[in-house]
């Protein structure tokens, strides 16, 4: 039977799992070396002994490589060039990187309003030849409707500077202009760091005699082969891994909140009738807003290793870590110590936990009652923060925009939510969180490596969204940025669905997706009327395979 390996690189720990069929065969936790993620991942692979494991179906990695590179500003220089046209002042939004403005404007249907200025292009080429950037990202307002300006400039620059690496905003075919530009920029800026990582990873895995495909987890809970993923799509896969981990360990169509308590962060996600909730806008990373699709998740800076400090005689939680918990040999008290002291867990030494907490108090106040008080406060505050974030996420879900009468009238059936807890700190906080939220709170069986399970069993997702303007004879695909000529009738009906299906199937096959599982959303047809005559239609339609897991792991698996 196929073996599957999942690795989740977290801020503090990296989890690894080996699953055979539905059975967890091996699981482990190693310390993450943020400065050397490759070594960390290889250590994890060695922990599950990939060299000696035959027939590995695939290895899936959820890595913070790109997220870290962006947040720590270790980005490759990229020239960002924009065609913003008229409209809102560009500085109304915060651009975290400098950009150059060129003339040329399209309208909302992709029709040219103002032509480009070739003189500016020549100046740009000269500057590029002189400057440090070897990459350029070109992005235009409404380029997701018509990429003509971007493509023309790219063709011009290719001719002028053949070695220049060129990325287009329209490759990220969704609105809006600001996010599309920054996404194209970021993807370009982390391509190098990601390709060198993936080349080394592949080499090292092959050197261990393993030929299994290597997949990378995305923020939307899907996976892509290491060779096919666009680097920026690998950001924030951690929270997605925990949602998938919960899916892999729960029954099909329940609704629940997933809470994953890590070392210094807690991730919260939402599952509705077995489907993870997607965010209605793209992911934010550092000061960049992107178009990267992600699950609707909340991350808060509190976890089992958060440092505890005293303020005005009251215990408080810091958003950072000062090493491991006192009860396992650390130097500073943490929520883990509080939970140990209160006997909510049996992880670590009780007497060390007591000692760590006592050290927070002035010497003359270190009595059992006072220590108890500190421990209770810590756990309550942690549960409060998590509870608040859960409430916010549920609010976000309820406040999802709706653009059709039908959507508003069928908005939110009354789900009853329970809570599924993952992560090292899960057992310790369960009772307190249950009281805080007044709803059943269940600790997932393999909670400490749940994210790795999620990564290992993640299903390949697929999403394909068409925007067709029959009057201008132009179609666009959001996800890939593909644009082309429509040769069908002005007032199509069934033909569009077939057209979309053909395009989608072609893409799905290329990605190795089982086409039977494709779901089609209802199409929206907008009759296009000019001077009281219907001159065409704008059609919107989509097909997708939602995020999920290929199978579930069997319950009650307890081997260490």
């Amino acid at each position: 039977m196929d073996n599957t390996i999942g690795i989740d690189v977290g801020g503090t720990f990296t989890d690894v799992i080996l699953i055979r069929g539905e059975e967890v065969i091996k699981k482990g936790k190693i310390t993450t070396r943020q400065e050397d993620l490759l070594t960390t991942i290889l250590q994890a692979l060695d922990f599950v002994e990939i060299s000696d494991t035959p027939s590995i179906g695939h290895i899936t990695v959820s890595t913070t490589l790109v997220t870290n590179a962006i947040i720590q500003k270790r980005l490759h220089p990229v020239e960002l060039v924009l065609f913003p046209g008229s409209g809102m002042r560009i500085s109304a939004l915060n651009w975290p990187v400098p950009c150059r403005i060129l003339s040329g404007e399209l309208d909302f249907r992709g029709r040219e309003v103002q032509p480009a200025n070739k003189k500016e292009w020549e100046v740009l080429a000269d500057d590029l030849r002189k400057g440090a950037a070897t990459s350029i990202a070109i992005s235009g307002k409404f380029s997701h409707r018509n990429n003509v300006l971007e493509e023309n400039l790219a063709a011009f620059l290719k001719q002028e500077i053949p070695e220049l690496k060129i990325a287009l905003g329209s490759e990220w075919g969704q609105s809006n202009f600001y996010r599309r530009s920054l996404t194209a920029y970021l993807n370009s800026a982390c391509t190098e760091i990601f390709s060198s990582f993936s080349a080394q990873l592949r080499k090292a895995v092959r050197a261990r005699g393993c030929n299994a495909p290597i997949r990378v987890l995305k923020a939307d809970g899907g996976v892509l082969p290491l060779e096919k993923i666009r680097p920026v799509e690998s950001i924030y896969s951690g929270p997605a891994a925990s949602v998938l981990g919960a899916l892999a360990q729960n029954d099909g169509c329940e609704s629940y909140v997933v809470v994953d308590i890590g070392g210094t962060t807690t991730d919260i996600g939402l599952v509705l009738s077995g489907n993870p909730l997607m965010s209605s806008s793209g992911a934010r990373v550092g000061s960049f807003l992107t178009n990267v699709r992600s699950l609707a998740v909340r991350s808060i800076p509190v976890g089992g290793d958060s440092a505890v400090f005293m303020e005005n005689g009251e215990a408080c939680l810091a958003s950072h870590r000062l090493g491991p918990a006192y009860c396992i040999g650390g130097s500073h008290a943490t929520p883990t110590d509080a939970m140990r002291f209160l006997n909510l867990t049996d992880y670590g030494s009780f007497s060390k936990a007591e000692e760590g907490l006592a050290l927070l108090l002035p010497e003359n106040e270190r009595n059992p009652e006072a220590i108890q008080q500190v421990a209770l406060t810590v756990v309550r505050k942690m549960a409060d923060q998590i509870g608040l974030a859960i409430e916010q996420l549920l609010m976000e879900w309820k406040a999802e925009p709706a653009y059709k009468v039908w959507e508003v009238l069928h908005h939110h059936p009354d789900f009853r939510f329970t809570i599924r807890l993952n992560g090292g700190g899960a057992p310790g906080i369960a009772t307190v969180l249950e009281q805080r939220m007044n709803t059943e709170t269940i600790v997932t069986d393999s909670s400490e490596v749940s994210n790795a399970i999620g990564a290992a069993l993640a299903k390949t997702t697929f999403s394909w969204t068409l925007n067709l303007d029959t009057s201008l004879s132009r179609y666009r695909i959001e996800e890939t940025g593909e644009q082309g000529e429509w040769e069908g009738p002005k007032k199509p009906h069934k033909e569009v669905e077939q057209f979309l299906r053909d395009l989608a199937l072609r893409q799905a096959q290329e990605m190795g997706i089982e086409t039977k599982t494709l779901q089609t959303d209802p199409f929206d047809y907008f009759p296009l009327v000019e001077n009281y005559n219907t001159v065409g239609q704008i059609v919107r339609g989509a097909m997708h395979v939602p995020p999920g897991v290929i199978r579930r792991v069997s319950r009650g698996e307890k081997d260490e």
């Binding site: 008229s86 809102m88 109304a92 909302f108 809006n176 653009y403 009327v529 219907t534 704008i538």
Partner: protein
């Protein structure tokens, strides 16, 4: 930071007909434009999810005749409900101002509703205003209608109410639907002057429109001292609008918004769906959010002749003089069954252009020195000859007017097929069909 709330509800699955101006496509390009600009990513913008208005909230303000279930209200209830959501957010101080960018529109829908007129069935602003008065104790409201058409429905609803100032500035009723909104329509016997109509000659552009606002509307509003200002933000004054003949630009609309400083703007008409709406909506949003809108430029330029300068200023001055010199001329009249007091009778015909029929109405207003006065409305559908009665006890009603209202109800509830009581003072809405009181749950089930 001052937050601006927005509800974008384009009703992509609702239309009045495939090539009707009020069709699915109407806000499609507005969506493309405002989303692509990244408006929703502005830190001061907060997007809200649409909501559905309660029937109770509708009936507090408008009488749906002859029976609720006769009209398809779903889309209209969402447009009204969304306006209420933003109104609440303003009152709760979550946001500083807001824009209900919603379809369908509502300002032609009046105190009695037998069907759709001027594309409107429910009056979003009026329902919102009375909601805020009932739930937040708001006392004085100014509604400024900058749609090119006379906001006749809104005027009708608040005509006898001294606490709501209704200003409508629009293309002259002699040249445009609905054919009303002249300067002598100034309010009822207890609310004289609380309605202000400024009909404009065709061809007026940014300059003239802003001049009229600055020199007439804004001083009047300031004098009135409203607790809240609502803008019926129709966009058919734009120079590309196919139904009207004015010459306002998108940036002109931005400036109008900046002048009025509405707490809440609610979209009304505007049917140049490619040439104007994406740009006008963007300019209004930017103006509300305190952002620069001077870069909002429509690709299509002004080609019609603009009326402005001295010609316009003297026209307006003349109009203002007329307005000041008008004295009311009430017809006092009462039926034998009326409770004591002086009653002013106003007769009117209301034309429902969408379904092509007329309503004939007699409004009796109790003259009162203490409050807006209880209003009795006898209404008849001239197509079906169905009759219905509305009794309205106004917000801030005096004791005598309250008693009068209930006396009228006692009299009419057994004799009329349909009777609606709007006791706005005590927030009590009651409905009788054939002498039997109908509960709202029952009504809801029938509409579902």
């Amino acid at each position: 930071m001052n937050k601006t709330g927005i509800i974008f509800f384009p009703a992509f699955d609702w239309s009045l007909g495939e090539s009707h101006p009020e069709r699915e496509e109407r806000l499609l390009y507005t969506q493309e434009q405002i989303f692509e600009e990244g408006i929703m990513d502005l830190p001061q913008i907060k997007q809200y999810s649409p909501g559905v208005a309660d029937l109770m909230d509708v009936l507090r303000t408008q009488a749906i005749f002859p029976r609720l279930e006769k009209l398809h209200l779903d889309a209209h209830l969402i447009a009204a409900g969304s306006s209420i959501i933003l109104g609440k957010a303003i009152m709760d101080k979550e946001i500083h101002n807001g824009f209900a960018l919603v379809r369908p529109p509502g300002h032609h829908s009046g105190a009695t509703v037998w069907g759709n007129r001027g594309f409107c069935t429910l009056n979003n602003e009026a329902i919102l205003v009375n909601y805020l008065r009932a739930h937040y104790g708001i006392k004085k409201v100014a509604i400024i209608d900058t749609d090119v058409h006379h906001g006749d429905g809104t005027q009708d609803i608040f005509y006898y109410d001294p606490n709501v100032l209704c200003v409508s500035i629009h293309q002259d009723g002699r040249t445009l639907f609905p054919g009303t909104g002249f300067t002598d329509e100034k309010g009822g016997p207890n609310s004289w002057g609380s309605t202000l109509n400024i009909p404009l000659i065709p061809g007026v552009g940014d300059e003239g429109f802003l001049y009229a606002l600055e020199n007439w509307v804004l001083p009047r509003v300031e004098e009135f001292k409203p607790d809240i200002i609502i803008n019926s933000a129709g966009q058919d004054n734009h120079y590309t609008d196919p139904l009207a003949s004015m010459n306002v630009s998108a940036r002109g609309y931005g400036k109008i918004t900046e002048f009025i400083k509405p707490d809440l703007a609610v979209l009304e008409g505007g049917y140049s769906i490619q040439g104007a709406l994406p740009y006008v909506n963007l300019a209004i949003l930017l103006a509300l959010a305190g952002e620069d809108y001077s870069g909002v430029i429509e690709p299509q330029k002004l080609q019609r002749r603009e009326i402005g300068g001295e010609t316009f200023r003297s026209y307006l001055l003349n109009l203002k003089r007329q307005n000041e010199n008008i004295r009311p001329n009430w017809t006092l009249k009462k039926e034998s069954c009326f409770p004591a007091g002086e009653w002013v009778c106003i007769e009117k015909n209301i034309f429902y252009d969408t379904d092509w029929f007329q309503e004939y109405r007699k409004d009796y207003i109790r003259k009162c020195n203490h409050c807006g006065g209880t209003v009795l409305t006898l209404s008849r559908n001239e197509l079906t000859f169905e009759k219905a009665v509305l009794v309205r006890i106004p917000f801030e009603a005096c004791e005598a007017c309250v008693q009068t209202g209930y006396d009228l109800v006692e009299h009419f509830k057994n004799t009329e097929k349909t009777l609606l009581l709007q006791d706005q003072l005590q927030n009590k809405i009651m409905l009788w069909h054939d002498g039997r009181e109908v509960s709202f749950d029952e009504q809801k089930n029938q509409t579902a």
